[in-house]
Symmetry: C2
Subunit: 268 residues, 2 copies
């Protein structure tokens, strides 16, 4: 293995394990397939992998109709996404994988410059070769309100919490950021903050049932992680794929997998 | 109100809302009664109250039969006690109380000198007048194993996390530490580390179904909090009592309520 990644954050999109239009739906077969890939990655690089799981319809259902007058309205999200984390932990444990679910709202608040992270517990889990399992959450802001902190933003907990070369890989239901919008097969190979305006023009508007803002929200979050120093990828997940170990390798060694890379401008 | 307490940690014992011999039992009527008392306390002193809830049979059931060969065996406790916290949050929300459940395992690890706490999120919750709801948990130790960190120990999160005069009030099913053991009505009025050996001789052995070690474990934990500077009380909970506001007052103003006080030796 090339020594190119100190920490790999894999986010498995909710759309891969849940039909968002179905209430509290979780596809346990698909989840078991991805859990096997994550368990294998974790075995290949113990202490260097963090899992972030999308809330799918369980997460979206908890925050779809929020009372705008209640600053704590997103509260049920922390319960909903704890349940989702636990489904993953159970599947990973069944595979013999050592993992632990961490409530992001307990280790992260939102300040004027974004997430402020207490990374101590996650660091200690990693140091002992235990896979931290994170998810979106209802996170406290500086004004005392809770805000929906979607799973696309959660890699910031690792990116900001630890030094070193952090890679963020987002597995989703399309092969990358699509140049022609929905239905297109052309993937934009690379996006930087400088070229992002063009990318945003091309991508499709969020579906009404997706509180994370679909690919637009995803790209916004990944650009934030890139600005924080991470190398980010969007690629299609496949629960039957044999493994994801290439995500730990230098890109020159990857198999022929379509993807979009999101990084900060090399010129700064 | 006398200004004698900067932070009040109220622990509601699992025995008050759960029959430990009944699997996954929670008495929602009793819980609603205590929730009303806590909501009232929180309204009287917003930002100065922390709630710790006992796991009752749900917590005990999660860790009763642990595989001694599996360092992560206590893992299910973090799920079980999240469920218990959520039952309290729901009851408090129904009363209009602003509260938030915090996973202790996410903000606390166990080091050679006991709990090491990241108090930032709890501090910010308090600063915004939001009641933190904590519970026992499976907490990571320095050797990479998870350990059962029972709810009697959880007040350490607040005692160690914040400066100032912290009071810990443990509501349980007896009127204090009993001088004559089980069935006795004589309460030991005050226990210090120096006088604790005599108290331990008097109290009864743990019931087999109680993983927290009954009053012996409780007293050990409270002596730790006292050594950390807290003033601790054990007293009987009553879900029909009108309020608990006396817990915020100087002891000279308390009603005639039996209790045991646990403090550090004044001589050091």
């Amino acid at each position: 293995m090339d020594d190119v990644v100190d920490l790999l954050v894999v986010k498995v999109g909710g759309s891969l394990v849940s039909e968002k239009a179905r209430r509290d739906h979780l596809d346990h077969d698909a989840l078991a397939g991805y859990a096997a890939q994550i368990a294998d990655l974790h075995a290949a690089a113990p202490g260097r992998v963090v899992l972030v799981v999308g809330g799918g319809s369980i997460g979206h259902g908890a925050v779809r109709h929020l009372d705008a007058d209640d600053p704590l309205a997103p509260l049920p999200l922390t319960r909903a996404t704890f349940d989702v984390k636990w489904s993953w932990v159970r599947a990973l444990r069944d595979l013999g994988s050592r993992c632990f679910p961490v409530q992001v709202a307990a280790i992260c608040v939102l300040g004027p410059r974004g997430p402020e992270v207490s990374f101590g517990t996650v660091r200690r889990l990693l140091d002992h070769g235990i896979l931290p399992v994170l998810a979106g959450d209802s996170v406290l802001c500086a004004d005392g309100a809770l805000r929906v902190f979607g799973s696309d933003h959660v890699p910031a907990v690792a990116v900001r919490g630890t030094p070193g070369r952090t890679r963020v890989a987002v597995l989703t239901d399309v092969p990358g950021v699509l140049a022609g919008g929905p239905g297109s097969q052309e993937v934009i190979p690379e996006i930087t903050p400088g070229s992002s305006a063009e990318a945003f023009r091309r991508i499709w508007p969020a579906a009404a049932h997706d509180t994370s803002g679909s690919m637009g929200g995803k790209l916004t979050a990944l650009l934030d992680h890139a600005r924080d120093g991470a190398e980010c990828f969007v690629l299609r997940g496949d629960p039957t794929a044999p493994d994801l170990r290439f995500l730990l390798e230098g890109r020159g060694r990857w198999p022929d997998v379509p993807h979009t890379r999101i990084v900060a401008d090399t010129t700064g």
